[in-house]
């Protein structure tokens, strides 16, 4: 079956005073119906830019310099403005990180969920509100009939994020992009939101792109994972495989920072420092052709310095990695 989302060779650059600077380079991944693809990586590695590029919501100075984004076979990057509005919120939608600021303070949550239905389904105001109540129930908001008339400032962060999810799923999109949907919430609420997302996914068969720092959530929710580093995909595969058998030195470092991963969620609060990855992600514009991880890599040898970024080497059906030495590092 052809994937719902197919990102092919996507590159994004920033137009700055000092010329054009690559932000994302040759990113490719597919997400099938009902599957979840996690994007992980340190702050600034380009996860949000990937999401925004797919939605065609890149900030002013950012441009797509290569690639295609196929949603159900249709290239989003080539869609006319009218067609694009028909896709957003309808076939693909997005949940933002900050539930406190992602809802309009001047409208009730019912109005905001209803607005999506009014636009894409042509519903009248009353029907839209009616359906909004149903969606509030679906995202497990208690007293939905009363809360549909509440304003965002009357809800907690967790509830607002539920409202965002209801808005995003109102039109039964094929694709949902969740950009760190729980970062702003406290720990127990985070778990609830992740549970909710996976329950809803079981019902709707939506393909999800989940951006997160939470490797526990990746292990639990994601079918596949792509690890980004400095705008490049350096390891990709099924989440089982990547977590159990990380090959890239950077991914291995990430996993080492979460030692309890295999111990199960009960130990989620244990904060043990095993191994930290020294150094920092090279900033935009300071990225050469060679392996982006080179300055921080304990395994670096001459070939890493001499050669450009290694190609994503397909190791087996479940994993691909971009490292010259992965066979030695993780045989």
């Amino acid at each position: 079956m052809s994937p719902v989302l197919s990102v092919q060779n996507l590159s994004v650059a920033m137009k700055g005073a000092s010329g054009i600077v690559p932000v994302l380079e040759h990113l490719s991944f597919d997400v099938a119906q009902g599957k979840t693809m996690a994007l992980v990586g340190e702050s600034g590695c380009g996860k949000s830019m990937t999401a925004l590029a797919i939605m065609r919501l890149l900030p002013e100075d950012f441009v797509v310099t290569s690639g295609r984004v196929l949603l159900d076979g249709e290239n989003v990057l080539a869609a006319a403005p009218q067609a694009l509005r028909g896709l957003r919120g309808n076939k693909m939608s997005m949940i933002f990180q900050e539930p406190m600021t992602a809802l309009n303070p001047l409208y009730t949550v019912g109005d905001q969920i209803g607005e999506v239905l009014r636009q894409h389904r042509g519903l009248g105001r009353r029907d839209a509100t009616e359906q909004a109540i149903g969606f509030l129930k679906a995202v497990q908001i208690p007293a939905a009939e009363a809360r549909v008339h509440a304003y965002p400032h009357q809800l907690s962060g967790g509830m607002r994020q539920r409202v965002m999810i209801a808005m995003a799923l109102a039109c039964k999109p094929k694709l949902l992009i969740a950009d760190e949907p729980t970062t702003a919430l406290d720990v127990t609420v985070q778990a609830q939101i992740f549970d909710l997302l996976s329950e809803l996914q079981d019902d709707t068969d939506t393909a999800i792109v989940l951006i997160t720092h939470d490797l526990g959530a990746v292990a639990e929710l994601a079918d596949d994972v792509a690890v980004l580093y400095a705008g490049r995909c350096i390891e990709k595969g099924s989440s089982q495989e990547v977590i159990a058998h990380a090959r890239h030195p950077y991914t291995r470092g990430l996993m080492a920072c979460v030692p309890h991963l295999h111990l199960g969620p009960a130990a989620a609060n244990v904060q043990r420092e095993l191994e930290e990855i020294p150094g920092m992600v090279p900033p935009l514009g300071a990225r050469g052709a060679e392996c982006a991880f080179l300055p921080r890599c304990a395994f670096a040898i001459d070939v890493c310095r001499a050669q450009p970024q290694p190609p994503l080497d397909v190791v087996d059906a479940h994993a691909a990695v971009s490292c010259w030495r992965h066979r030695e590092i993780a045989p």
């Binding site: 001047l106 009363a146 009357q154 967790g158 609830q192």
Partner: protein, 299 residues
Amino acid sequence: MSTMEAPRAREPSALPSRPAASPLAAMLRQFGRSPAGVIGAIVLLALVLITLLGPTFYGIDPLDLAGAPFTPPGADAWLGTDYLGRDILAGLIYGGRATLTVGGVAAVITIVIGVTVGALAGFFGGAVDTALVKLTEFFQILPSLLFAMVLVTLFGQTLTTITIAIGVVSWPTAARLTRAEFLRLRNLDFVKASRAAGAGNGHLILRVVLPNALPPIIVSATLAIGVAILFEGGLSFLGLGDPNTMSWGLMIGQNRNYVLDSWWTVTFPGAAIFIAVLAISLIGDGINDAINPRLRKRG
């Protein structure tokens, strides 16, 4: 992650006890707590009522030569007569209607032009913004009184021309303010979220950003009424009022040469203008007070 227990206890939001107060209703309630705003509103309402209902109780035509010229205030004419013998009180009542109408309509023109220009500039940015900012600056550096005088001289000394001229020279302030609000708001998450939900530019400008930009625009609209009233007075004083329609400004303008001998001819309309403008600026203060604590609370 098996922490599904007690989600209700974790999320403490109280159910709205009364039907959720809309932000507008909350603002009105807040306005009611501002003494300045309430006093201003009462005074302005009184002025409006006087000009609307006055004629039914006080039957003298403001343009009639009702008595001897320069009759001082007294039994013959409560507030005296002017240099032609027209009744001052009748002038205040009927003239108030014209003056307040000019103020209101000119403020509407000011706000409509200013908000349109500012919203488009701030929302779209880029070349649109550059062009509209140039236009705004051009209108702003023109000496506005002189420019209005030219317009009135060219197109005729009628109340309509005067009103339009005031609107046309006054909008840059509103445009700058609106542009700044749009620049601030257009990158906020809820605007991005609306765009991600498929909203088009028209919807984003009118239904998403504009309502959030409204509070300072309302304040500036209020103040624009006061400015327009003063402007009308200024034009009339310089002899560019509409001679066929009684207004407070016209009364001052036509009687200004006699102010030393017959103080009442100019003092009463002057006081009327002063009271009206003061009331309006008090209302502006009240609205400001009503808005700002809310903005701070929302963060």
